[in-house]
């Protein structure tokens, strides 16, 4: 083990606004937190770091009264507190955005942001004032959606911003953000950071969790690192390097992170080769305008674009999750019509959704069941996967993806967010698809696992599988793909072979130019 | 607008609105059929409605009959109480009302013209009197006490309350007779069978079963037979109704005594209706023609039984 940066000596600290001492929380079979100390100062941005399952979310939930603490004390502003529910912690000035979006999809955006604090006159909610207030918060986040629209109609990224908006509206002295940026694009992140900066200057203490190291180094003042439910140390951000931080998190030296080479143009499509997938004029009213696309075996297609550019919609149409109004899809030269995901699965297409909670995990089933779900569905209920195969497959993927806890019988709902994502990935890999569509597969995944997944994608492609890779992280898209599609305003605006010349800046420029182009050419509002 | 111009019903056909309780038993179905058929025979146009055992539904139908301006309303109240309001509306609309099968306990007897039906208390009494008359023969197992188990109808239903009351009143005449257990069998065969099964296990030396209707009695017979006993011999059975299945069992010696409760009120009802519409006077209370059957009488009557 290399020399870690020295933990911060105590006297340097002012009076913490939050102080947690010796926190212990055990779930059946898991000691999630084993005597963790934690301090949060006013006017700082404090990053809570750790691998998937390290206990970050649990520590937050212990602080905000979601979980009862087995042992240890929590004090806020010097007073010892025993929060029995999130309502109590909120009353004590702690405003929280939890990791999974926790809003009510059946209510409007404004309602979600202001629930419990709605402006009202004589007991009657003032809808106008509510929408206006919500609108101004959305504004701060640079979000131009109708506050009166239903939350459920918006993609997960928007929902995440709405959740952040809700937390911002609470006049709090502590703001907790558990992976707020996991599905945001660069612009949104910048805007969010501006807001965070302002709040910090006003003296608000901000607790921030993220797996994006760059972001952490950009915004945070100090950080606390957890590993396996134990405290590793507290550091000043300017006193630690990225490498040291990663080593603190994973507890060992990392083989070079950027090991993965630029994947480059693996197989330039030879003349006359039948593409694996040939898409012509695929469109759906209100969500995607005609898109053409060809995918060849062993190709990784990256899709770049900003929020709402239609990437998810394209993926869903390719998979039959939504039905297209027009256009054709040929798989290896045969025409297919995907009315349900089953049709697409039959054509050996796999799709891992960006909305893990609503469209991915089956919370009350075990890891093993979740992994084998699609395989089983494809085999039909009468032919269960034989126990031996089952055990072998599950063990193999738990090991390959380093899923923790490595127990096939653990319930999915008890897994940390990152580990759930890995299980879902395994679900699709087990079906050995010809085309794997990954919508934000690295969302909420720690740095180590992210590298693992990227390597996996590269390896799968090398073995002949085609992959469609959608990610808000442009670097990641560029690093992995053979070709990059750029989307904007629900249509494809560029399709480029990803050679050395392509850069993040260039892609962003393309998107901006596309903006100009559409504004001139197509005033279709 | 409630002030109603009476349609010229005088010479052409009469329209009758009949609000039935429901179709909760075979007895009730026979009753309905009788009303429908005799209406046809009598040339009365019948508006029939089924309340599905709910008073509110019945009130609604009566109100809708008033709205439709029928000439006469007849109904078998689901329950005795609570008719004043709607009957008042009928009275205001000048529509006469005839009650069938069950009475209403309204203080204001001007709200209806007459009540046609049997008296449940009397039925219970008749059953009890027969048992008293049996004397020592009622004590089947000769232990000096006549141990009766009672299968009640649906708890709270008028026939159940009244039959129990009548039976208990008559039973007092012989101090040896005692009801050892009494439980509801909901007027069904299944209920009768299940309750009787339990009684057979928890009560020793049962002499007599008193069932509030034939169906529960028939269920009890099954339970008794399954226990290896002979219904009608080892345990005597008294029931009320006299539907065909009950009469058959009586004729076969499996039931000992049945008090009739006659569902065929149709012809009597239509007669009354015509008289009322024509403005003739009718008695305030008309009893249905009912009898009692023992085993020999049953054999004779069985052939002619229509329901």
């Amino acid at each position: 083990m290399t020399q870690l940066a020295t933990p911060l000596p105590a006297p340097e600290l002012g009076t913490p606004v939050v102080e947690m001492r010796g926190i212990r929380i055990a779930f059946p079979g898991v000691k999630a937190l084993q005597g963790v100390d934690f301090r949060l100062l006013p006017g700082e941005v404090h990053a809570l770091m750790g691998e998937n399952g390290a206990g970050k979310s649990t520590l937050i939930k212990a602080l905000t009264g979601v979980y009862a603490i087995d042992d240890g004390t929590v004090s806020v502003a010097g007073r010892e507190q025993q929060f029995a529910s999130p309502a109590d912690s909120q009353a004590a000035g702690i405003s929280t955005v939890y990791q999974e979006v926790n809003l009510c999809p059946n209510l409007t955006v404004a309602e979600n942001m202001l629930l419990g604090r709605e402006p009202h006159r004589f007991g009657r909610i003032d809808v106008k004032a509510m929408n206006a207030r919500a609108g101004s918060i959305l504004d701060r986040l640079g979000l131009s959606i109708d506050p009166g629209s239903g939350l459920g109609e918006h993609p997960i990224a928007i929902q995440q911003l709405v959740a952040i908006g809700r937390a911002l509206d609470i006049e709090a002295r502590v703001l907790i953000l558990d992976e707020p940026t996991s599905s945001l694009d660069a612009d949104e992140v910048t805007r969010l950071f501006t807001v965070i900066g302002t709040l910090r200057d006003q003296g608000v203490a901000i607790l921030f969790v993220s797996h994006f190291l760059d972001q952490v180094f950009e915004i945070s003042d100090r950080m606390t690192v957890l590993r396996n439910g134990k405290l590793v140390g507290e550091y000043r951000t300017d006193g630690i390097t990225q490498l040291e931080l990663v080593e603190a998190m994973i507890g060992r030296e990392l083989e070079k992170l950027d090991r993965l080479e630029h994947h480059g143009t693996a197989a330039a499509p030879a003349e006359g080769r039948v593409p694996l997938l040939q898409v012509l004029g695929l469109s759906r009213k209100g969500s995607l305008q005609a898109v053409d696309l060809e995918i060849y075996d062993g190709e990784v297609i990256g899709i770049a674009g900003l929020l709402g550019s239609g990437r998810t919609e394209l993926a869903r149409l390719l998979f039959g999750a939504d039905t297209a109004d027009a256009g054709t899809i040929d798989v290896r030269g045969t025409r297919h019509r995907f009315r349900t995901p089953r049709n697409a699965i039959g054509a050996k297409i796999a799709f891992s959704s960006e909305d893990r909670r609503a469209e991915g995990v089956i919370e009350d089933l075990t890891i093993a069941d979740n992994m084998l779900l699609t395989l089983q569905a494809a085999r039909g209920w009468l032919r269960p996967v034989p126990p031996r195969t089952r055990e072998r497959l599950v063990a193999e993927y738990i090991e390959a993806l380093d899923i923790r806890p490595p127990e096939p019988g653990a319930l999915m709902r008890n897994l940390s967010g990152g580990n759930q994502q890995k299980v879902l990935l395994a679900r699709w890999l087990i079906t050995q698809p010809a085309l794997l569509i990954l919508d934000e597969p690295t969302r909420g995944i720690d740095i180590g696992a992210k590298t693992q997944i990227q390597q996996l994608v590269a390896k799968l492609a090398a073995d002949g599988m085609s992959v469609v890779f959608i990610s808000t992280e442009l670097e990641e898209v560029l690093r992995l793909s053979d070709r990059v599609l750029v989307m904007r305003d629900r249509t494809k605006i560029a399709d480029r072979v990803n050679d050395e010349s392509v850069t993040v800046a260039e892609i962003l420029a393309t998107i901006a130019a596309g903006a100009a182009a559409t504004e001139e050419g197509n005033p279709d509002a | 607008g409630d002030d109603k111009a009476k349609p010229s019903a005088a010479n052409d056909s009469i329209t009758m609105g009949f609000a039935q309780v429901g179709a909760e038993s075979g007895w009730r179905t026979a009753n309905t059929k009788s009303v429908q058929e005799s209406a046809k025979t009598a040339g009365i146009e019948l508006k029939f409605s089924d309340a599905q055992q709910k008073q509110e539904n019945q009130i609604k139908s009566i109100r809708s009959f008033i709205q439709q301006k029928v000439d006469i309303i007849s109904f078998s109240p689901v329950v005795e109480t609570g008719w004043d309001t709607v009957l008042m509306e009928a009275k205001r609309a000048n529509i006469p009302v005839i009650l069938t099968d069950r009475a209403v306990d309204s203080k204001d007897t001007s709200l209806y013209k007459t009540f046609l039906g049997s008296d449940f208390v009397v039925e219970g009494k008749k059953a009890g009197e027969w048992l008293v008359k049996q004397g020592d023969a009622a004590d089947v197992n000769k232990d000096g006490a006549v141990k009766v188990v009672e299968l009640q109808g649906t708890t709270g239903a008028a026939p159940a309350i009244d039959r129990k009351e009548g039976f208990e009143a008559a039973m007092k005449a012989n101090p040896k007779i005692a009801i050892a257990a009494s439980q509801t069998g909901d007027f069904t065969r299944d209920g009768g069978k299940k309750v009787m099964e339990s009684f057979l296990k928890s009560q020793k030396n049962i002499d007599v079963v008193f069932a509030h209707n034939d169906d529960m009695g028939l269920g009890a017979i099954e339970a008794i037979e399954a226990a290896g006993l002979k219904p009608g011999k080892d345990i005597q059975i008294i029931t009320i109704d006299a539907v065909k299945d009950g009469m058959t069992a009586l004729a076969d010696g499996k039931i000992n005594y049945i008090v009739e409760c006659n569902p065929l009120l149709g012809p009597q009802l239509m007669d009354l209706a015509k008289k009322v519409v024509a403005g003739e006077a009718v008695p305030e209370r008309v009893l249905t023609e009912e009898t009692v059957f023992d085993q020999t009488a049953a054999k004779a009557a069985l052939a002619a039984r229509q329901y």
Binding site: L373, A377, P384 | T184, T188, E197, S198, K201, L218
Partner: protein, 340 residues
Amino acid sequence: MRELVRRPLFWPTLALLLLITLNTVVTPSFLSVRIQDGHLYGSLIDILRNGAPVLLVALGMTLVIATRGIDLSVGAVAAISGAVACVYIAGSDRPAAASTALVAIAIAVVCGLLLGLWNGFLVSVIGIQPIIATLVLMTAGRGLAMLITDGQITTVVNPAFKVLGAGFVATLPVAILIALAVFAVTAVLARRTALGMLIESVGINPEASRLAGIHARTITWTVYVFGAFCAGVAGLMIASNTSAADANNAGLWIELDAILAVVIGGTSLAGGKFSLLGTLIGAMFIQTLATTIPTIGIPAEANYLFKAIVVIAVCLLQSPKARAALRSRRPVRTVKADAA
């Protein structure tokens, strides 16, 4: 002991045992079983035999509930199936022949299946909320049953038909043997094939299941067909037990009993995980409760009160929070579920 208490079925089982104990204290002969005419005879046997229809219906209901559905029509389906069988037997040339009984049973079962197809169609294809979709058949079904029997109680005298509900094979009641057989087959289908897992998956998260390629519609449809099949067989048992089809009262409120059995057995009405063994215990509990009332001599007017008290007691026993509160005076500090 600790381990035992944690088992999900511990509390329902305990409740069942308590009820049996109560009966035995009041009527010492409650547990005694003797052989009479070559079959077992006693209160316990009655409970098993009379509990068979509820058990059957509850088995079907368990799977329906596991998919987040509910089936209110089971009582009506039971009535129809009984009515069809009895009317067929009563109207045939040889109303006492075993072959007639077999044909009648077959027709009734087919009717049940058709009604299940109907329910499943409304729920899974048209997409009507299960409670309303099955309410349609709950209302209309009784009418159909009465239409079939012409509103009369149709009595049949057919020894072969009687076997189904009141007969004995190898000293045991046929009804319970059938119910147990269906239980066993269901358990095997659910747990030895992948059906159980797929049903649970659809119940827990229908959208995620669809995206995982599960044929959610077929599965939903199938469970309603199965539910109606069970109800149909239960209806035959009820009819056979009294040798009569009572369109009005056969299976009246059996849906409530069945749902109660399912829930007491630990299956949540919110769908998802289900326990067939739990349902078995739940159904037996309900039947024991029904038998207890006349046995221990509760007056008819106190039936409901007694039932209410027992049900409340069982719910509280089963609730971990209530037990924790009973055990310690401290404020309850359990981990709050993170579920929706």
